[in-house]
Symmetry: C2
Subunit: 216 residues, 2 copies
């Protein structure tokens, strides 16, 4: 069976919480991590354009440098894995060409057949009103990837902690992203909660469903 029952899904999403203290001695098994990296690649995005890059920070020295740029939060250094979500600063014609070429390759169609799609993206993202807010647009797409990643991790029993309390320009500097065309927008730690993390047992705070879900 490849699906969860609705009840099992809810069990996993209720089990999930923003881990404050990770068990620094436990590593995510290699096969599980490989799948989670694949879930990043599979993240949905507008047009399927994937305006992002995911930096898996393995180097302990780099993690140690990122920690002070993250309000000193321990998740940066103590989680099994640490992913920095970076998004495109601009979308240019070259990005569309690259995407069209990849689509042609994967789907076995001539690039010319994708001209209407390219034209639509050009008018929307490169020349249209969205081009003025394109970094925000790309950042939002990257938050889809973040949501996908946390839920995917919960579905396979892996803990995460989204990290918004970070200094993105400082991250860019440490990770060498400045001038790369991508910029840090958010990060996410992944691994196993520590038995000592008191937040694990704290009841999850959500508004009542009738205050959040409106029927129209």
């Amino acid at each position: 069976m490849t699906t969860l029952t609705p009840a099992a899904l809810l069990t996993q999403l209720r089990w999930r919480y923003a881990v404050k203290t990770f068990d620094s001695g436990r590593k995510i098994p290699a096969e599980t991590w490989k799948a989670l990296e694949e879930t990043l690649v599979l993240s949905p995005s507008s047009y399927g354009l994937q305006p992002w890059q995911f930096l898996v920070v393995e180097d302990a020295a780099v993690r140690a440098k990122l920690r002070p740029a993250s309000w000193g939060q321990s998740q940066v250094t103590d989680a099994s894995h640490y992913v920095v979500f970076a998004s495109k600063v601009r979308i240019e014609e070259a990005d569309l060409d690259r995407f069209v070429a990849r689509t042609a390759e994967v789907r076995g169609v001539p690039a010319e057949a994708l001209a209407p799609l390219r034209k639509m993206m050009l008018g929307d993202l490169v020349l249209g009103p969205r081009s003025k807010v394109i970094a925000d647009w790309a950042a939002r797409q990257t938050y889809i990837a973040l949501g996908n990643f946390m839920t995917a991790a919960a579905a396979v029993g892996i803990d995460t902690c989204p990290m918004e309390g970070i200094d993105p320009p400082k991250y860019d500097e440490i990770l060498g992203l400045a001038g790369s065309g991508h910029q840090t927008v958010v990060a996410c730690a992944a691994g196993f909660r520590s038995a000592a993390d008191k937040y694990a047992a704290a009841p999850k705070v959500r508004y009542a469903i009738e205050d959040v879900v409106r029927r129209v």
Copy 2:
């Protein structure tokens, strides 16, 4: 068992695609939809502040009105369910008070004990630099909910299509959101793919993992 194996998770995420044509005759079973609404409520957000509202559009007449504000796309009217993701326009002190009161209630702690958290949120979201971009911040949080929703749906075998090609101000007007403190940011159709949707069989276009995931 409440978790998926990594292989099963990947099977579901590869099965997922942005459905172009839904089977308008198939409804998501009530119990499954109830769980999916609950996944919306459980979506992670910064501080757990939940700066959003999810509008489940059940009224066929309203769906018919939304369709022309969505480039005429058939998913709006043909999918089993249609959710509009709206996010907060501003974060004000009253929002923090409401959140603190809810936290105190759920966790059984006095609201005074949450004063440091309230102060931090106040300095960040209401008075700090983030207050200047707070609608963008809230929209990004809402994209976490979108990512969570699509992945949760895929995990239980339900199809979705994220809808960014919509006219948010027009949606606000149709849904009566103008002046409500929330604004439309994105939508998502959910249901079952039509057997006639040729996109279901099209290979998924993703960049190679080495082009998207960087090891640092």
